[in-house]
């Protein structure tokens, strides 16, 4: 596996550095790599072929902006094409729910694609964001306890669900749902249907019958972003039977590159509306073509990383931290909070996976050079200190260190490493303070997400930017250290 397409193209274009326009031969050579990148990201083959052809036409003859390598230029063009194809920079068109109530939203998809969870998420989204009165109904009479599952989800989200009547057919339930939604004054009714295979004629006919009976205003295809080449078949099979109006891509919080998005978009022609990004019932986001394009190309998800970091860093905590920093204090409890913060963001490997060019760090982690467990261990060490020791680590004598090591199941060396790390972080915090504290830091993060990073070139928003981790490292006050905060590198080594 490779890290980013630009890295991969780098080799091809090394000899060509500094040329004027992209020639056909160069472009074709680059596109071979793009093709493999797309296939590895699970974009379906026919879609890849079309896409490569279009992108090639667009790239041939394009001027290479000065200070950008031809490889980066190609990536930029490919990225632009991808974004365009995925739906452009704008937010997806809103759902058509401003109709004579109740608006009917029907969810369809394969088994296990995440329909039921997505139904609940969407209902909750419509209810909280759009302030609609929403009802959900499960038409899944096939999977044991499917209706029960939706009922429970309804309770958790505070969304009304249609009472379950055993023995009804899906079409009967659908009609009953629409009826009772109208009578009870609901704005939207979300119909969760049973999962079905595209080649299962009986179930596909049933789905068409439900659509005919309820004339949904929206029919959303729920697709697992882990889907491989089969995505085209799925999309075609469903499109053939019902008028799809949109796609919801689930499990985008996984580490799949999500090439299925491109296949879906191409085959259905329907916009991708939402992305499911977690187990929690509010983990539904408007689909962002720009981010997903970067991910398909293996460019990492810098924007996502920044947002995740920002959201995770509770304002209150930030305030407190800023205050302490203002006083030049940074004690062991603060370090522990930092560690907890990192864990929340999905641990080191979670973070690493979101960063482009993180191959080396990830490999180091996989090989055990940097142990992901170290967060836990460091926390244990800090927790084994007395409150007094935490605020004043300088009182730690050899005897105390032995006690802490025993208490946390580590060694004195480990304890020393944590202390060393704390020392370094405290120093960085002091330096950060001069730069405007936490808020300044977050601002820097945000700025970095938008621009292409130090190597983004003149284009600025250059996706060609193999955004090196030094950026993050520098932000933490230490260049060239990957995303690890100061001191981590030392601790990680065995």
């Amino acid at each position: 596996m490779f890290d980013s397409l630009s890295e991969r193209l780098g080799g091809i274009f090394e000899r060509l550095r500094g040329r004027g326009a992209l020639t056909e031969i160069d472009v074709r050579a680059a596109m071979r790599e793009v093709r493999v990148a797309l296939l590895e990201a699970d974009v379906a083959l026919p879609v890849v072929k079309d896409f490569i052809e279009n992108a090639t036409q667009r790239a041939i003859g394009a001027e290479v902006i000065k200070s950008v390598t031809p490889g980066q230029q190609v990536v930029k063009i490919v990225n632009d094409c991808l974004v365009e194809l995925l739906g452009g920079e704008d937010e997806p068109t809103p759902l058509k729910i401003a109709v004579t109530p109740p608006a009917v939203v029907m969810m369809v998809g394969l088994q296990g694609s995440g329909k039921t969870t997505s139904s609940a998420k969407l209902a909750s989204w419509l209810s909280t964001r759009e302030r609609k009165k929403v009802m959900m109904a499960s038409l899944d009479v096939a999977r044991p306890a499917a209706q029960e599952q939706l009922r429970v989800l309804g309770e958790q989200t505070g969304i009304a669900t249609l009472p379950i009547i055993a023995g009804q057919t899906p079409v009967q339930i659908a009609e009953r749902a629409r009826q009772s939604a109208r009578l009870q004054g609901f704005d939207v009714v979300v119909l969760d249907t049973a999962g079905r295979l595209g080649i299962d004629e009986e179930l596909m006919a049933e789905m068409a019958a439900i659509a005919t009976a309820t004339t949904p205003d929206e029919i959303l295809l729920v697709v697992d972003s882990l889907t491989g080449q089969d995505a085209v078949n799925v999309a075609a099979a469903f499109k053939e039977r019902v008028a799809l109006t949109g796609v919801i891509l689930t499990r985008m919080d996984g580490d799949a590159r999500g090439g299925a998005a491109l296949s879906m978009r191409q085959v259905t022609g329907a916009p991708i509306r939402f992305a499911g990004v977690g187990e929690k019932l509010d983990a539904l986001e408007l689909f962002d073509a720009r981010r997903v394009a970067g991910r398909i190309l293996g460019m990492g998800d810098i924007v996502g990383l920044v947002e995740k970091a920002a959201a995770n860093f509770e304002a209150e905590q930030a305030e407190k931290m800023a205050e302490k920093m203002a006083k030049g204090q940074f004690d062991m409890d603060d370090l522990r909070q930092q560690l907890a913060q990192m864990k929340k963001m999905g641990g080191l490997s979670g973070l690493a996976a979101m960063m482009p060019g993180m191959g080396a760090a990830k490999k180091a982690m996989d090989s055990g050079a940097v142990n992901p467990k170290m967060l836990d261990r460091m926390e244990a060490i800090i927790l084994s200190m007395t409150p007094k020791e935490r605020t004043k680590p300088e009182i730690l004598t050899a005897k105390r260190k032995i006690r802490i090591a025993n208490g946390s199941g580590t060694t004195v060396q480990d304890v020393n490493k944590v202390l060393k790390m704390h020392q370094e972080m405290a120093n960085v915090m002091k330096r950060l303070k001069k730069m405007g504290g936490m808020k300044g830091m977050m601002k820097m993060l945000a700025g970095m997400g938008g621009a292409g990073g130090p190597e983004g070139g003149a284009g600025g928003e250059g996706p060609g930017g193999a955004i090196d981790l030094g950026a993050v490292g520098r932000m933490f006050g230490r260049p060239g250290m990957g995303s690890l905060p100061p001191g981590f590198n030392k601790f990680g080594r065995k």
Binding site: L39, G112, L197, L226, D230, R251, G254, R257, A260
Partner: protein, 304 residues
Amino acid sequence: MSWMGRLTQGLAKSTKRLADNITGLATGTLPLDDERLDEIEEALIAADLGPAVAGRIRTRLADQKFAKGIDDAGIRQVVAEEVEAILAPVALPLEIMHRPQVVLVVGVNGSGKTTTIAKLASQWQAGGKSVMLAAGDTFRAAAIAQLKIWADRIGVPIVSGEQGGDAAGLAYDAVKRAMDEGIDLLIIDTAGRLQNKAGLMDELAKIKRVIAKLDPSAPHDVLLVLDATTGQNALSQIAVFGEVAGVTGLVMTKLDGSARGGMLVAAAEKYGLPIHAIGVGEGMDDLQPFDAGEFARALAGVED
């Protein structure tokens, strides 16, 4: 219907595509030139084998000098042979060697764990073994209810707790009960989780640790359930679940759809984990032992 029939039916589309690709190019006996090799490679990619493995099979085919040329059926045969050569060493059925044999079933959400467990339970029970289930998916709403319904239908005992309860504790209780009651096979369900969620993966490791306290050799099997529609991410699933949960074997579900499950070939080449069974339908006996030859032939579209 034989399982080969079902699989072939499920694989009909890919079979047709591969066949079409090849037929479209060559009528009669022609040399295996670059163009035909390209088509074969693409057909393999379209079956989810991934560009790397497809490329290697292409190279191997290119190395075999078909001096006198080769017809469509011949191509399909050699493709099937290449695929079979990769898969044959990993086609190993699940065997019961301990008592109780503790089987932990893991996978990402929606891969078909619960249904697979029901099928396994039903088959082993029919084979004369006493089976017990443990509803370890304490996260998903109604997952416990789903497994309970299956247990009732099959007629096997089930150990379950509350939704939101501690899965490791439940697993412990289940193993203890299975030991006390002299059960042959205990199958433990777990909540689906994406492999990049460190916290959730730790929970799996904990379940394993806790079970091992009662029987150091348990869990005897850790089955990773893979969805056939999954693409190259399956490799990441195998790597991470393998590392954290010590996966001992694979089960592939949903092969009755249009997906081909070709990443099994990539997985076999890279990880060499046993492939125990494949799911080819909704029925209880639609979980079948994995047969490398038949799978390869179905994938390549060889007509028997």
